[in-house]
Symmetry: C2
DNA sequence: CGATAACTTGATGTGACTCAACTTAAGTGG
DNA sequence: CCACTTAAGTTGAGTCACATCAAGTTATCG
């Protein structure tokens, strides 16, 4: 069996993979999955390490299994802007291009299901159903990126902070369904203040001030740097400047 | 021949289409093109008219043949943010989704090669090569949107204005290769000040001030509201805060 | 040629960035 | 396990780029 091969997925079969159902792999037929097993392997990266540097030739692609990967763009002025965050089941890497315009960096300790880029590209051409799924995923991603661009551009910092808090609350809600079930209202922010600031298009100082303002207004309670309790969700939504419907759509991306 | 059919492309065959080579259609085989001819038809929209309203069920997709289409997102606060501009050969519409999250609006008078969405979706499933081309186009678009998000977020208004001017100068350069050949240094901005401002994430007032500042510094000359002459390109690049290499990559999107 | 929209210019207020000091948390080695 | 070091986060004061409100000017169109 493949499970004996060193480079194959340690889960033995992709169908046992934690993110299988949510990833594009779910569209693969039985023998296609077999093929994926052969070309994929698990890799881990510790927080802060570069998975793929901006402008460098890219050789691997795959799915995030655990942790958060940040997709960022460093400008000549030195400051980097985070243009995307990748969570478990999200696909990483730049298909069908020599190099990646952005750098992929581990925002937390990360586990990836990695594949050789060329091998996966060949796989996609042989399996139009999976490629179709990939196209749909990328169309969704495109909408999400555009929506986020609209938020970071037309809203105040407070609105962005409130939006992010709400979105992460929905996300961690799903994540913790089984694991000890912390309150629905505890938000886990795995990123550093700097990363959050870079993602929101602001500075750590301004971000901090806004978080403290929300805490003083009893909208949230700061448990520690990475954990918040939502005390007043409807008030948080008011601060976001969005409707609940819109927020839930954004969170589902 | 198809040319007799009312709804077919007036060019008779897609291969005679002005944007054929640059669009995804170029990947279609002979009989596939025949099929596209059957389901496509030309439609025109006058400046300001809505091609597809935000949140409404979308029924048509296709390519922009002439003019500029703006892709925008109206927030509850009233102000709209333009999240994308579509130029000739760009694909419009939201495939594989009930409705479009953004509104498509004619920023200038526009000619489209439109197709029924479901018909084109069926076509794509039957023609993996075209769908493959579509995926590649969407991956490129994703990079472009992210790069633009990084620009509008991390740069000053002046830098954004200079970047846009440069990008449009490269674009109109290509457009006018045959038509009376205006100078390489004449930039045509087909959009209104408000649209440009919405695209750059600023206001018409601030935009105007920056344009006037560039004119006073002899970097550009304002011929009229929609035409500018570039007097000092290297100075314009300095104002953009980007390297020429980066700007040219952005322009090629 | 008059009316309406588009664009420009001016004056003013403020949200957010910058620089800087301080506090708290997280590692590290003896 | 605790002192030590370094990073991460918070708070404060000052400044400035940009939004806003308002008035004027130039295009555009019936």
């Amino acid at each position: 069996m493949n499970s004996a091969v060193g480079v194959s997925c340690p889960c033995g079969k992709c169908v046992n993979c934690a993110v299988y159902n949510r990833s594009v792999c779910a569209a693969a037929s039985a023998d296609a999955v077999e093929q994926l097993n052969r070309i994929s392997h698990t890799r881990t990266f510790s927080r802060g390490s570069i998975i793929q540097a901006q402008g460098e030739a890219s050789d691997i692609v795959g799915n995030v299994v655990e942790g958060v990967v940040k997709l960022s763009n460093a400008s000549i002025s030195g400051n980097e802007h985070i243009v995307g965050l990748l969570f478990p089941s999200d696909f990483f890497g730049r298909l069908f291009s020599e190099e990646s315009q952005f750098s992929y960096e581990a925002a937390t300790d990360v586990t990836l299901c990695a594949m050789n880029k060329l091998a996966f590209e060949r796989f996609l051409v042989d399996h139009p159903k999976v490629e179709h799924e990939m196209l749909k995923a990328k169309l969704d991603e495109l909408d999400a990126v555009r929506e986020w661009a609209a938020i970071t551009n037309g809203h105040t910092t407070m609105q962005r902070v409130a939006t992010l808090l709400y979105v992460f609350s929905r996300r961690s809600k799903n994540q913790h369904l089984e694991s000890g079930a912390p309150s629905d209202f505890v938000v886990h922010m795995p990123l550093s203040r700097r990363d959050i600031a870079d993602y929101l298009g602001t500075t750590p100082e301004t971000l901090s001030r806004n978080i403290q303002t929300l805490a003083r207004a009893k909208v949230i309670r700061i448990m520690n740097a990475k954990h918040f309790e939502l005390l007043n969700v409807s008030e948080l939504i008011k601060h976001s400047g969005e409707t609940r419907t819109d927020l839930d759509r954004i969170a589902s991306h």
